[in-house]
Amino acid sequence: MRQPVWKTYKLYIGGKFPRTESGRYEAVRDADGALVANMSRASRKDFRNAVVAARSALTGWSGGTAYLRGQILYRAAEMLEGRAAQFVDELQRLGLSRAEAQSDVERAGDLLVNYAGWTDKFQALFGSVNPVGGPHFCFSSPEPTGVVAVLTPRRIGLAPFIEAIAPVIAGGNTCVAIVPIEASVAPISFAEALHTSDLPAGVVNVLSGHRSELLPHAASHMDVNALAVWEADGDERRLAEQLGAENLKRCFFFTPAAQDEVTGNPALLMRFQETKTTWHPVGT
């Protein structure tokens, strides 16, 4: 009987798949105790490296056209669809029923398609031409906040992960996603799909790790512009804002939608946008 070739799950940083520099791992097992994968347990140095990658990717990603960002997100949906069976299989091994796994993967793809469509539309809805009382043309438009650290939901699945990162990158930000180890198998796999979606290196970085270990570093990192913590408890909120205050980090706390309600949300996308107001005189 032929033995299947197992996959090695690593981190995704700057378009590469390195192991954690710390050498640490944690086994994720199925309900029967069989090994699914030895996941890397990312360290603060992995986080630091990921922020460097995200920062260097920011200019290119935010400076490119919205149309291109839309196409790349749509391409990610295509890649996801092509590997749907693999993701369903992975999620089933982690305990989801076939129907749940299938629904999750479909929803994840649909979210990507939805946000792919938002990339070139939210500016028109949330920007404005301001009728100022003088001889000036004045307009305000959203611009990405920058590098966003995202602590993704704990729930196992691909959709909760996409729900957390898609609104960030659709708006032109780059992100470092910190995924709880028990929920990290599918997101790390998905990084491979992203990798083949023409997504520039560093736009999305995925770290599997412990929130309690990495949150303080994400919150205090002076080159992280915003922090999104999903399913934060009271202590996490306090920690995030207390440490985040040092560089006026924008801190957001989100609750994931119920599995069957997950849908794209431009208000979510707008949380990771700054408004820039530009003035110019009108004359000849």
Binding site: V132, E274, T277
Partner: protein, 527 residues
């Protein structure tokens, strides 16, 4: 303090019929190298208009201004004596004379104010939205009617020139109420697809640089969105807020909708730490802003912060240079430089740097520093002794770090807090005066060679409130304004404000926006 340069004027001040023999210096400024000779006019008279640097005094009449000797707290629509606070004198920084005494709120007073606001909030939010708006329209009108009186008090209490208080602050104050009044019954159109509700009771803490304007920026949107407020003006500039309280009374705004309590840092802290508030809106220093964010961490109480800045002001070689020079002047000497979005870091392309600096210095020589209530004053009094000390310390640091200082020769009044307009050339990105917010009439000038270098230097800061760019080339404007990491970018203009234009910072310059439809978001709960 470094010694001041000699005054320079464009042309020789010689007899009217004689041909001047100018010396064109390296930077293009003609100097007479000589003294202030009187110009003889036909008939032998000395013409006072020609020869004086300044103009004859043109004091604003203050006889119609009504100020009480004492102002208690404005809580629940009534003037109330402080229970655990006291009274503090508030002065005119131009003369150091006491103008009035103003109550300071203790913890218990803060509690009472928040209680009054809470009691009023439900009814206020349930008013038909159009009626809520009508109160604000009424307030806008009353402000317009009393705008000269308010401008004078603003000038007396804060030190800003009456010209600015009259021509800039007060029109914007009235416009802010008028603009937001109209939003009250249109919120459903502002955020289609989202359900909104008022936040509740908002604590608002404002600075001393634009006392009444900041009160308007805070109160108008909050009220339009159905919130009630407790406003704390800055310790040194409480008086126009007291007059504003009178206007809310006159307008018949329901009691408790607006509560105004004065006090210093401890009163502010009592507000920030009070669990009975739904939000804190703060304008002030980045340092205090961070403290507020930490204090509110994990409480779920919302906050918007409008903080410090160190705006880059980029002058490209193809700019309309005379207007750019004026832009620099408006950018840094407006309101004595007490402006969070002041254009305090000027970056000039090397090919025109000498020309721009020469014209800027000449323009500085025509700026009139003095009595804020004189209609010709361009630069008034520094807001407080403390602020004057801070400016002086940083300017001394600039001199010690080797930057080259220029100040016009005009003498400053002997009483009151004044600081001469100051230009530093030969500055570097590493200098303290380039990195730190001075919040005074002090501008640093650096040069650059290419657009990329300008943008890199402009963005090389913890702040991101505003920026400016001057060029005649449209494509360059858009490239530059897009690349600048700042919430407000002025192209070929500077320091423009409008209630319809969102204002607020990137990075350490703050969180949230004020003004425009975007600013309403900060005063609503999204359900």
């Amino acid at each position: 303090m470094a010694s001041r340069s000699k005054p320079r004027s464009l042309a020789a001040k010689n007899g009217s019929a004689a041909t001047p023999t100018p010396k064109i210096t390296q930077n293009g400024v003609a100097t007479d190298g000589g003294s202030k000779e009187a110009i003889a006019v036909p008939g032998g008279a000395i013409n006072a208009f020609v020869n004086e640097t300044l103009y004859a005094p043109a004091p604003e009449s203050t006889d119609h201004v009504r100020l009480e000797a004492k102002y208690p707290l404005f809580i629940g629509g009534q003037w109330q004596e402080p229970t655990d606070g006291g009274y503090a004198k508030t002065i005119n920084p131009a003369t150091e004379a006491t103008i009035a005494e103003v109550a300071t709120a203790g913890k218990n007073d803060v509690e009472r104010a928040i209680g009054a606001a809470r009691e009023a909030q439900g009814k206020w939010a349930k008013l038909p939205a159009l009626e809520r708006g009508k109160y604000l329209f009424r307030v806008a009108r009353l402000i317009q009617e009393r705008s000269r009186e308010l401008a004078i008090i603003e000038s007396m209490n804060g030190g800003k020139p009456i010209r600015e208080a009259r021509d800039v602050d007060l029109p914007i104050v009235a416009q802010h109420f008028f603009y937001h009044a109209g939003w009250a019954d249109k919120l459903e159109y502002a955020f289609p697809g989202e359900t909104t509700a008022p936040l509740g009771v908002v604590g608002q803490i404002i600075p001393w640089n634009f006392p009444l304007m900041m009160a308007a920026w805070k109160i108008a949107p909050a009220l339009a969105c159905g919130n009630t407020v407790v406003l704390k003006p800055a310790e040194t500039t409480p008086l126009t807020a007291m007059k504003l309280a009178e206007i809310f009374q006159d307008a018949g705004v329901p009691e408790g909708v607006v509560n105004i309590i004065n006090g210093g840092g401890s009163t502010g802290a009592a507000l920030v730490n009070h669990a009975g508030l739904d939000k804190i809106a703060f304008t002030g220093s980045t340092e205090v802003g961070k403290g507020i964010m930490k204090a509110l961490a994990g409480t779920g109480r919302q906050y918007t912060l409008e903080l410090g800045g160190k705006a880059a002001h980029i002058i490209f070689e193809d700019a309309p240079l005379d207007e750019a020079v004026e832009g620099i002047v408006n950018g840094i000497f407006f309101n004595q430089g007490h402006v969070c979005c002041a254009g305090s870091r000027v970056l000039i392309q090397e090919s025109v740097a000498d020309t721009v600096v020469a014209r800027l210095k000449r323009r500085l020589d025509t700026l009139i520093v003095g009595d804020p209530l004189d209609k010709n004053t361009d630069i008034g009094a520094i807001n407080s002794r403390e602020q004057l000390g801070r400016i002086t310390t940083l300017v001394n640091a600039g001199v010690e770090e080797g930057a080259c200082i220029y100040q016009p020769s005009q003498s400053l009044p002997s009483r009151g807090f004044y600081f001469a307009p100051t230009i530093f050339t030969e500055t570097a990105q590493s200098h303290r005066i380039v990195q730190e917010e001075i919040f005074g009439p002090v501008v640093t000038i650096q040069t650059f060679r290419t657009p990329d270098e300008a943008i890199e230097k402009a963005n090389n800061t913890r702040y991101g409130l505003s920026a400016g760019v001057w060029t005649d080339k449209g494509a360059k404007i858009f490239k530059t304004t897009s690349a600048l990491r700042a919430g407000v970018v002025w192209a070929n203009t500077f320091n423009r404000f409008d209630p319809s234009a969102p204002f607020g910072g990137y990075k350490e310059s703050g969180i949230g926006r004020e003004g425009g439809v975007q600013g309403l978001r900060s005063y609503l709960r999204f359900e």
